[in-house]
Amino acid sequence: MSNPGSLKYTASHEWVKTEADGSITVGITQHAQELLGDMVFVESPEVGRKLKAKEECAVVESVKAAADIYAPVAGVVTATNAELDNAPENINSDPYAAWIFKMKPDNAADLAGLMDATAYQAHVDSEAH
């Protein structure tokens, strides 16, 4: 599965979708779910929590390990995906549909600092070596 060109990416393997209302939706990439393996638990951030850029705000746990999820930019959490409470494995089966949380960025311009799909793929390749 390739990384959708319509999304932005972080070096810590989150994907970021910009919605029409200016909010963003965040999940983890195909590469990240592959590294972690079978997902068994997702801890989402509290709605309303104010986050700094790169702040730890959620945790995904596979059978194997726990991994922190970081805020791609500064902002406020507006929603979390309750479906993942009972079906964390959705992250494995469709990582780009199984979003983890949504947030309203403090400053839309911050999103320009994220990677596009090509830059992210290069980043993944560089980590593999």
Binding site: G37, E61, V63
Partner: protein
């Protein structure tokens, strides 16, 4: 550093394994899905490459007497040839150097199987002790042998399908017994809580045997599922649940230590001098989350620590083994510190799962 490879390395790669560095060995973590592999062993049959583990042969007169002194469990429990015994190898301070299985084959031959990471140290210790107490014994490392475990409710029937020649001798093997058949050493033992076999054979024959098992429908299982299977089965993992600084009496292994007989053994005096203050117990997490190694356990009798924690695919809950104050009772609630939260866990008797069924 170059990773060590088992004779099945190419077979793992051909089967799509995700390989990892496991204590210096290049080993399969999973072949796609750890959860599916776990279920495969609980409901059907799976095979594990455990060739990184080490066989050690002890031959010569007086081997039984030497093992009576070397091991914490009593080899006098082994009276019929082929019988196996689980034991700790202790240091004089009563700490666990390793845990192992010893097979009584004859009065002049016992075979021992030890963990991969500790093998060289174990053999050095055995030789050092033999030099003092049994200088004529021959102690041979069998790194030339591969080891394959076949585990699951259908392990036996699929093993006969793959190797029809084994059935006659092996089908009547009782649990914790072994038999030698030509170049193969077949033991009815395992690390999953299911029926099955652990088979030692010459390294050259291993890829052929592995493929024959695959052709009979036995799926390959990686180290990931091996760990969740053994944790559900309540079996200790060396380096996690015990090590050279931990007494077997504080690691849930009192049942393997024979303190009743007159026999002296290495570590006995230290164990008798220091009654255990802690014990190993099972935990089942009541809140949402996953228990992991080294998380702190809070009880009304003091703190403890998780020694092995994970998610139990069979129970669909998080479970753990934890070393906690001896006064904590089965059924008590304790708190586990996970990130910035204290989550509730119940203290339970383990094993958690046996023969495919949850016991909690």
């Amino acid at each position: 550093m170059t990773l060590k490879q088992t004779p099945l390395n190419a077979a793992h790669r051909a089967m799509g394994a995700k390989m990892v560095d496991f204590g210096g060995w290049d080993m399969p973590l999973h072949y796609g899905s750890q959860l599916e592999e776990h279920q495969q062993v609980r409901t059907d049959a799976g095979m594990f490459d455990v060739s990184h583990m080490r066989g050690v042969d002890m031959r010569g007169e007086g081997v039984r007497d030497f093992l009576r002194y070397l091991l914490a469990n009593n080899v006098d429990k082994l009276q019929s040839p082929g019988k196996a015994l689980y034991s700790c190898l202790l240091n004089p301070e009563g700490g666990v150097i390793d845990d192992l299985i010893v097979y009584f084959m004859s009065e002049s031959w016992f075979r021992i199987v030890v963990n991969a990471g500790t093998a060289d140290n174990d053999i050095a210790w055995m030789k050092e002790q033999a030099a003092i107490h049994a200088p004529k014994l021959e102690i041979t490392s069998r790194a030339d042998l591969a080891m394959i475990a076949i585990q699951g409710p259908n392990a036996a029937s699929k093993l006969w399908q793959a190797m029809p020649g084994l059935q006659e001798l092996a089908e009547n093997l009782k649990p914790f017994n072994a038999v030698e058949m030509g170049t193969m050493f077949v033991a009815r033992t395992g690390y999953t809580g299911e029926d099955g076999f652990e088979i030692m054979l010459p390294a050259k024959a291993a890829p052929f045997f592995w493929q024959a098992l695959a052709d009979a429908g036995v799926k390959p299982i990686g180290l990931g599922a091996r760990d969740t299977l053994r944790l559900e089965a309540g079996m200790n993992l060396y380096g996690h649940d015990m090590d050279a600084s931990i007494s077997p009496l504080e690691a849930g292994l009192a049942w393997t230590v024979d303190l009743k007989s007159e026999r002296d053994f290495i570590g006995k005096a230290a164990l008798l001098a220091k009654p255990p203050a802690r014990k190993l117990a099972g935990l089942v997490l009541q809140d949402r989350g996953v228990l992991r190694d080294h998380q702190v356990v809070k009880s009304s009798h003091g703190d403890g620590e998780i020694t092995s924690g994970s998610f139990s695919p069979t129970l669909n809950k998080s479970i753990a083994l934890a070393r906690i104050p001896a006064a904590v009772q089965i059924g008590d609630m304790v708190q586990v510190s996970i990130r910035d939260k204290l989550l509730n866990a119940k203290v339970v008797k383990y094993p958690f799962v046996r023969n495919g069924k949850g016991l909690i």
